[in-house]
Symmetry: C2
Subunit: 183 residues, 2 copies
DNA sequence: CTAGAAACTAGTCAATGTCTACTTTAAGTA
DNA sequence: TACTTAAAGTAGACATTGACTAGTTTCTAG
């Protein structure tokens, strides 16, 4: 599909290299053809961001499902999956969290919500496990989202290396698990 | 200066609206003039990112200096200053942490290091205050950097509102202060 | 089989980044 | 003061791109 091609360009040559016309050329169609699918360049970027959120959410669920049920493993797998996505798709993650002048489109917002819901489910497992109380799930999920996104930002911007990011995940997860419940 | 103009455009209309030619027009010079100062559009963006890091570091130091010396206040002020910067300059912060195909330029890297050093100084105050041990400063600073950057990313991408971000800062700081020392 | 929608073609336009050769300005030095 | 040299700016050109339009082909569902 056209989006797969676009994703590959994004991955290999960054967002600046992503041009509707070149995409058309690679697909062997005329330069106006992509317009039938995306009104706009930004519509293409939105579609990519949307897919990114969905894929990231799927990868997190997948990773969590492949791990022994105890909460320490679960939260660690979730965080690792997120950062691993960031390492594999730095430009895409950037796009997903781009600071657009007028906020995200509805489609992107919904996809992002899906990721957030996934994280909420994961954190809810912590309640079952007695790691904290049900009333905290919302806030802790936000904190988890911020933490993994922050670590990812440090990696994608090359401020830290991948091994450093793994150590950082350990620190963050340890800290998450150790700090007790309550405001 | 030219960079001030560019920063204003970035703030008000986002990175896509930032054009060398329009900058030249607004400055009342010919379209090729900016080339004397910046070889490239990306050189302009690098210069903006560099200034951003320096300014953010300054604002953090400033905020910390305006607060009673106990560590809880210090770390909270630092985190608030960071996120406040993100709220005021979303596009600039995005630029500072952009996932460029070939990492950041040396100038940008140095400026980012300056910000990191600032955070290291701040976290070192926690050792004085007995909040944790000296050997942890490096890792905790990274964790702080990731956390504030993550919260900022959620705000700049409009995933959460500014008030939500303030509550999130509280949660993060509380968690930072409460969790005990040690790996 | 056919009507309508979806996908694509081809041409155009304005805007932009980049490059070049040339001129103007400024500053510092012999 | 006069001269040299570097910096800043001018003007023109070119390729690329996103966007728009009108017309054509292809597909599909009734």
């Amino acid at each position: 599909m056209l989006l797969d091609q676009a994703e590959a360009v994004l991955r290999e040559r960054g967002i600046d290299a992503l041009s509707l016309r070149e995409l058309a050329r690679e697909a062997g169609v005329s330069h106006g053809a992509p317009r039938s699918h995306f009104v706009d360049r930004s519509a293409l970027l939105d579609a990519l961001a949307e897919r990114g959120f969905i894929r990231l959410a799927d990868e997190m669920r997948e990773a969590v499902s492949r791990v022994p049920g105890d909460f320490a493993h679960v939260i660690r797998a979730a965080a690792s999956a997120y950062v691993s996505f960031a390492v594999r798709e730095p430009a895409l993650l950037d796009l997903m969290f781009a600071a657009k002048v007028d906020g995200p489109s509805e489609a992107v917002r919904n996809a992002a919500q899906r990721l957030f819901d996934t994280m909420t489910d994961i954190m809810s497992a912590g309640v079952q496990a007695g790691a904290y109380e049900a009333g905290e799930v919302g806030r802790l999920t936000l904190l988890l989202a911020a933490t993994v996104q922050g670590i990812s930002a440090l990696v994608t911007s090359r401020r830290i290396t991948t091994p450093q990011s793994e150590a950082l995940i350990d620190d963050a997860v340890t800290r998450f698990l150790r700090s007790p419940a309550g405001a």
